[in-house]
């Protein structure tokens, strides 16, 4: 079992300082990390106890494994996983070839289809989350730095409109809870500001890892709305808006949340 040993060897050197990067910004924006119990914060701070690292380790194995009809690994083209440092904090991004805005998971999947000539694992499946977690983990501690440009700006505007749109039988918008009532108590639980600083993340409620799209879909289910399907443009637009809203905040992947 060389992989886990290697993963943790890297962490010991680079991990702890970066993991502590989940601090509160001075402008009042707060990562969900700040609203968690000290016990859950401790799990995120210690890579040796963070269950999300199980996915990161699997992602590292995938990075180096040849796959698909092309028989290529991620490493064959990109080199070491560390070459992905800084990527996650710049997604969603405009994919010039596909002429569309894609999130990180979508970009990895495109790479898998086009370069490895491998089929797509199901959304939220273990292999899909593992490679996304491994790539996103490389950016831990960096500041979120969303790119700009015509298509992305349009997506951000559409995403903000969706964020403010009242939805579902309960007729609530994202903004009504996460902007106007963040910090308040929803049945005894603090409402977070909904900054997407640590995805994919380990959510206790899920007892596993999940994507930002899954989290948004949960909220939609919560207000009794029909969630957008995984990969829907609306979800990517919301991701673009949320990342701009969190610009400058520290990247935490793989985060832990209640």
């Amino acid at each position: 079992m060389k992989r886990p040993a290697r993963i943790w060897a890297i962490l010991v050197v680079a991990g702890f300082a970066a993991a502590a990067g989940a601090q509160t910004a001075t402008d009042g924006r707060r990562s969900g990390f700040a609203d968690m119990s000290p016990a859950l914060q401790a799990i995120q701070r210690d890579d040796m106890s963070n269950p999300a690292m199980l996915w990161v380790a699997e992602g590292e194995a995938q990075w180096n494994a040849r796959a698909g009809n092309a028989g290529k690994s991620c490493a064959d083209c990109h080199g070491a996983g560390e070459s992905m440092r800084g990527v996650a904090v710049r997604y969603p991004a405009f994919d010039a070839k596909a002429r569309t805005v894609v999130d990180l998971d979508g970009r990895i999947d495109r790479c898998r289809n086009e370069h490895q000539r491998a089929s797509s694992p199901a959304p939220e499946s273990r292999p899909r989350l593992a490679i996304a977690a491994y790539v996103a983990f490389q950016s831990r501690g960096m500041a979120i730095a969303p790119p700009t440009g015509g298509s992305l700006d349009a997506a951000a505007i559409a995403g903000e409109a969706l964020y403010r749109q009242r939805l579902g039988q309960l007729n609530l918008s994202c903004a009504q809870c996460h902007d106007e009532r963040a910090g308040g108590s929803l049945a005894g639980v603090a409402i977070p500001q909904a900054h997407p600083t640590g995805y994919p993340l380990y959510r206790s409620e899920w007892q596993g890892l999940g994507s930002l799209q899954r989290r948004i879909r949960n909220c939609m289910t919560g207000v009794r709305a029909e969630p957008y399907p995984f990969g829907a443009p609306e979800l990517v637009e919301l991701e673009v808006f949320l990342m701009r809203r969190a610009a400058g905040m520290a990247w935490e992947t793989p985060a832990v949340r209640p």
Partner: protein
Amino acid sequence: MNATRRTTLAGIAALAVAPFGAHATPETMRAAIAAVASGRPMREGKVTLDIQPLVDNGNTVPMRVEIDSRMEGADRVRAIHVFNERNPQPHVLSVAFGPQAGRASLSTRIKLGDTQKVVAVAEMEDGTLWTAGVDVIVTIAACIEGIE
């Protein structure tokens, strides 16, 4: 592991199997603890059971149990058993310590379905039993998603 320890763990594993649909109660927890004690008296002390008093999600509750012991002679800890009173089953886990154990301590994460008491019982090499209990308040997720 020696015969005593094996018997202890097997006995507890059998206790852990509750009838279909059953639910632990303070009474079933007491019964499970009584099965471990088998008539021996239990004393408060020696046991540190560390669980946060207010839990944000009952699916991942960090727990540390440690016994004040030099792990030598009669003072050695043979096993620790942890129980709850409101999950579907009263048994949480049991740990038997072998000769290479450096401390009588274990850290893990447990599930707590509701606000309830968690109890740890330690069996010493000399047969004495020590115990500690902690009351834990578990908040309930307001937005519960369906199973996907």
